[in-house]
């Protein structure tokens, strides 16, 4: 039995137990989609747990859906308890959301999965066809979980040397600006990068205000430029580097170059990588001398 099949079996058993005991009302996991690849799945009923799967194409970071469970279903009720399947990279987003008091730890049951990396965009028959973020990822076990499924694989931990940033870092400023303007030109302002991001949960995004205070509704380079740089800055010290923004972009914008540039900056300045450990409050909220990461 392959690891995927074994973990699939374990996820289903865990899901059944959680739903039957009433511990949670929904399992956020993966199922086989219409195109034969994994997609997010929401299982509300123990009879449906057989839909759940695990495999190398479980690329999505499901923690973004936790925002949909923050409010009670009905007025006067408590918010629901849910379970979510996470990989190590996804789990870092949970730490970020906990620090930002977006979710309550006791309402989320975390099904952690030991991870060997997920598939990249290339040819799935190529082996290993790892996503770029997995090649530089050294985490085999989620940073936070209630139950851990699978054996942490014996893979030497990768050293993240930010090599992906080298090319753009070497460009003179004018060339770098030209590079980004060229990239932003392709953007269609679909907001998929923002919508898929667990860290982008503002009720009203500053780039989508009715009064157009910062940017108007135009889908042109100046607005797109402002949006992408603004979003990157708002994620500085908060981006868990799941790289979902880059995966979902229909126009293939290399958004990791922005987010990781700021992650490197934060790591250099504060020795801090978002979500890697439990934080009592978000890095950039720490203003005092005591307990400040600075």
């Amino acid at each position: 039995m392959s690891t995927s099949e074994e973990i699939t079996r374990e996820i289903r058993a865990q899901a059944r137990e959680l739903l039957e005991s009433g511990q949670v009302s929904c399992i956020i996991g993966y199922e086989v989609g219409s195109r034969g690849r994994a997609r997010p799945a929401f299982v509300h009923d123990a009879d449906d747990v057989e839909r759940l799967i695990w495999g190398p194409d479980c690329v999505h970071n499901l923690t973004v859906y936790l925002h949909d469970f923050k409010k009670p279903r009905k007025r006067g009720e408590e918010p629901p308890h849910v379970a979510v399947v996470v990989k190590p990279c996804d789990s870092r987003a949970i730490n970020v959301l906990l620090a930002e008091q977006q979710i309550e730890r006791e309402r989320v049951f975390i099904i952690g999965v030991a991870c060997e990396g997920v598939q990249g965009r290339g040819d799935p028959s190529r082996s290993p066809n790892l996503a770029a973020r997995c090649i530089r990822c050294g985490d085999r076990v989620p940073v936070v979980y209630d139950v851990l499924l699978g054996e942490p694989p014996e893979v030497p931990p990768a050293e993240d040397d930010y090599a992906d940033l080298a090319r753009i870092g070497e460009m003179p400023p004018a060339e770098r600006l030209a590079f980004w303007l060229h990239q932003f030109d392709r953007c269609i302002r679909c907001y998929a990068c923002r919508q898929v991001c667990p860290g982008c949960y503002c009720t009203t995004c500053m780039f989508e205000r009715d009064d157009g205070l910062w940017v108007d509704i135009g889908i042109e380079v100046p607005q797109k430029y402002m949006f992408h740089l603004g979003r990157a800055l708002h994620l500085a010290g908060r981006c868990a580097e799941c790289n979902e923004c880059e995966r979902v972009c229909p126009m293939g914008l290399p958004l990791s170059l922005l987010n990781r540039r700021l992650a490197r900056e934060v790591e250099t300045l504060f020795g801090y990588r978002a979500g890697r450990e439990v934080a009592l409050s978000p890095l950039l909220f720490e203003l005092g001398e005591e307990g400040s990461p600075i």
Partner: protein
């Protein structure tokens, strides 16, 4: 049949580019997109379905509608409409059908949308038949076909040594005046082949997708299927922006320049999407479609219930772009099959 070679075609396009805004499929950083081109050298002749539809050239993502200027007490108002002729070369039949869908609202309803009408009138559509159906394609279930000339001015089909040329409209014939054509033995390549003769992405014919009539949709409004499909929706706008028939827009005035004695303002319209969170929010802050399933449901009801009831055609041409670009695999074919099943079709 009328025939031309690739060399003749290139020469003709180079000539056209001088006096027209020439839009054609181009490789943009590895993405096939309909983009303005300066010469035929930039044009792709062998390409799959471009990743975005052609609607940007009729309902631009951002369009300046008018400009106003106030100098002291004088206010001037300028309507903005491009005056060059436009040629869309290499448009796929599904995208042309998409324009017919938009016409039903923008041209056939009173009053017509002057901006859209202007772009339609200044544009000639030279289509290139698809050699096959690609992943996600289901045009044959939506009344189209990979070689359907119906909504075009000219249709080209790749044949041995060049292209078969079908002149569909007088506008097309006029545009072709500069193109060297020869008469060849034999019939033009067959049109509108039955779906089963087209190769799907994995060889076999694509499975037909059922379309449930609008009146049967009404009964399914509260059905659980919307929750099931909508739960994983991200509320992004990919599906609506890649769609050849989604046509919602928002309008705003933006200040271009302010200094003592002078204010210049532009009125623009820009694409909007019913899948986005605040699309339906109204004065006072109420949002009648607060959840993802409700918003996603609206997108499908618009296409298969409201639009055909109000304006005639279905709001979908089966181009499959939303299917291949959705990051969470919301699949319009799957939704249509579920609707058909739930309504006992």
């Amino acid at each position: 049949m009328k025939f031309t070679t690739l060399d003749e075609l290139r020469a003709w396009l180079n000539h056209l580019a001088q006096e027209h805004d020439l839009i054609a499929p181009r490789d943009v950083d590895g993405h096939v997109l309909y983009r303005p081109v300066a010469s035929s050298g930039e044009i792709l002749f062998d390409y799959e379905r471009p990743e975005l539809s052609t609607k940007d050239y009729f309902l631009p993502a951002t369009e300046v509608l008018l400009r106003t200027e106030r100098r002291g007490g004088d206010v001037t108002l300028e309507e903005v409409l491009p005056d060059r002729k436009q040629v869309l070369f290499g448009i796929r039949p599904c995208d042309a059908q998409g324009l017919t869908v938009l016409d039903a609202l923008f041209l056939q309803q009173e009053p017509p949308d002057v901006y859209y009408r202007h772009h339609r009138e200044r544009t000639t559509l030279v289509g290139l038949a698809c050699p096959q159906m690609w992943e996600g394609c289901f045009c044959t279930s939506m009344g189209g076909a990979p070689d359907d000339p119906t909504h075009l001015d000219v249709l080209l089909t790749a044949v041995d040594g060049g292209y078969a040329v079908q002149v569909v409209t007088e506008k097309g014939a006029a545009l072709l005046e500069g193109l060297a054509l020869e008469e060849r033995e034999g019939e033009p390549p067959p049109q509108s082949l039955p779906p089963q003769s087209w190769g799907g992405p994995r060889g076999g014919a694509p499975k037909p997708v059922p379309v449930t009539p609008p009146e049967k949709w009404r009964a399914l409004f509260e059905d659980g299927l919307w929750q099931r499909h909508g739960e994983r929706c991200l509320s992004c706008r990919i599906c609506t922006y890649v769609c050849p028939t989604c046509r919602c827009f928002d309008v705003t005035d933006r200040v271009v320049e302010v200094r003592p004695g002078l204010t210049r303002i532009e009125r623009i319209r820009a694409w909007d999407a019913c899948t986005s969170t605040n699309y339906r929010r109204i004065a006072g802050g109420h949002n009648p479609r607060p959840t993802k399933p409700e918003r996603l449901r609206n997108r499908f009801y618009c296409k298969f219930c409201y639009y055909p009831e109000d304006f005639g055609p279905l709001g979908c041409v089966g181009c499959g772009r939303c299917i291949v670009s959705c990051p969470v695999n919301i699949d319009i074919r799957e939704v249509l099959r579920d609707v058909a099943e739930r309504s006992g079709e």
